[in-house]
């Protein structure tokens, strides 16, 4: 008898929990003019939502950023500030 092996296999995907940006109460905003490209925000974002470009400049992935504020807390130049979501401009 031929044995059948069956396993439940998940495949890699972005947003396994949906667009987690919707979890945010506060939104990190980056002032690139203050940024010294130290990349601390990049390495410390638990969710990989600080994107590192080829020239080591950084940007924020708002689709998935959960708004924890670690990037703002760790930035040595205060280049990132947390702003309340949905409170006008």
């Amino acid at each position: 008898m031929k044995m059948q092996v069956k396993a439940v296999i998940s495949r890699p995907a972005d947003g396994v929990m949906g667009k987690t940006g919707a979890w945010r109460d506060f939104r990190p905003e980056l002032d690139s003019s203050k940024c010294i490209k130290c990349l601390l925000c990049w390495i410390f974002c638990p969710d990989g939502c600080i994107k590192r470009a080829d020239d080591d400049s950084v940007s924020i992935d708002y689709v998935y950023c959960k708004g924890c504020g670690i990037c703002a807390n760790e930035c040595p130049k205060q280049a990132i500030t947390m702003k309340r979501e949905g409170m006008g401009e």
Binding site: V16, D61, I70
Partner: protein, 305 residues
């Protein structure tokens, strides 16, 4: 290695199930940068399995065996044996487990795997409680800490898991924190370069479980080192080597900050400060920590671990 030189490759996808500010997610990103794609994980019941997401999707770009609470090191043994048979010994077999799955429920399988000298890396991210089930005490919960099952503060000391591992005579073990990613990266790479069973324990300050603001995860982990509540070290060839600030604390070049500075920022210790200071317990915690350091000094001095 400077932060700039850490690999760009991301092997965890954004949009995972981790809480905002999750120390496990942070440490896992750094760990996977060190491990690279040629890696297979065994993960027991723990927060990280929630981070993975639910079928049919996973946030991990490396294969993961999701396995029962007690069985991750047993699964890793099987994976290591299978890969050996296939001639793929260059693949990293890694367990990523919480302290519940390490100190308590997974201890037997871990002990067995290390005793069999299984070629794998066991990584425990230690948030000092069963976090994803709702903050129950574990064998890693420190004395005095509130959890939902120790609501007046834990009355017992945590167990010394790293010492239990060293007693197995394994070739390498190390401790790390998310706040020093280069140190963590180096230790994972070091573990990869050694054959046999390797153990790395990462302190994982958990904002919802420890009751502190979610932007302070990195800060809290550094404060644990500065106050001596957590020691950064490596164990190799029967010797303990301390790293970064823990080295200067060990060598008495730096006084550890009062441990209170670390405790008072965590809601799980709030009952030690309000409504009245519990001087007795605060003092016990401080003295215990200083005694731990004295023990470390003696171990280093005498070359025993």
């Amino acid at each position: 290695m400077a932060v700039k030189n850490l690999p760009r490759e991301e092997l965890v996808r954004p949009g995972s199930g981790g809480c905002p500010g999750c120390p496990s997610s942070l440490a896992l990103r750094v760990t996977l940068k060190a491990l690279g794609k040629n890696t297979v994980f065994a993960i027991p019941a723990c927060c990280a399995v929630v981070c993975l997401g639910a079928y049919p999707k996973t946030a991990f770009d490396v294969p993961v065996v999701s396995i029962a609470f007690e069985a991750s090191a047993a699964a890793a043994s099987g994976l290591a044996a299978g890969l050996k048979r296939l001639g793929k010994q260059d693949t990293n077999v890694v367990v990523w487990a919480g302290d519940g799955g390490t100190y308590d429920i997974g201890l037997q399988a871990l002990s067995g795997a290390v005793e069999r000298e299984t070629d794998f890396i066991y990584i425990c991210y230690n948030n000092e409680m069963y976090s994803n089930t709702g903050i129950q005490r574990s064998g890693a919960t420190p004395y005095g800490a509130w959890t939902t099952t120790t609501w007046t503060g834990k009355t017992e000391q945590k167990k010394d898991m790293p010492a239990i591992l060293r007693a197995h005579g394994l070739p390498y073990m190390a401790t790390a924190v998310p706040g020093y990613p280069e140190d963590l990266f180096r230790k994972v790479r070091k573990a990869m370069s050694i054959r046999g069973s390797k153990y790395i324990e990462i302190l994982a300050p958990c904002p919802p479980g420890w009751r502190f603001p979610m932007d302070k995860t990195v800060e809290m982990s550094k404060l644990a080192v500065d106050t001596g509540a957590w020691a950064l070290y490596e164990y190799e060839n029967g010797q303990l080597n301390f790293n970064l600030k823990s080295k200067s604390i060990l060598e008495k070049k730096t006084e550890p900050k009062p441990i209170e500075e670390y405790l008072k920022l965590q809601g799980r210790f709030a009952h030690l400060f309000k409504p009245d200071r519990n001087e007795q317990v605060l003092d016990e915690i401080q003295q215990r920590s200083l005694a731990d350091w004295e023990r470390f000094r003696k171990q280093v001095e005498c070359g025993v671990a």
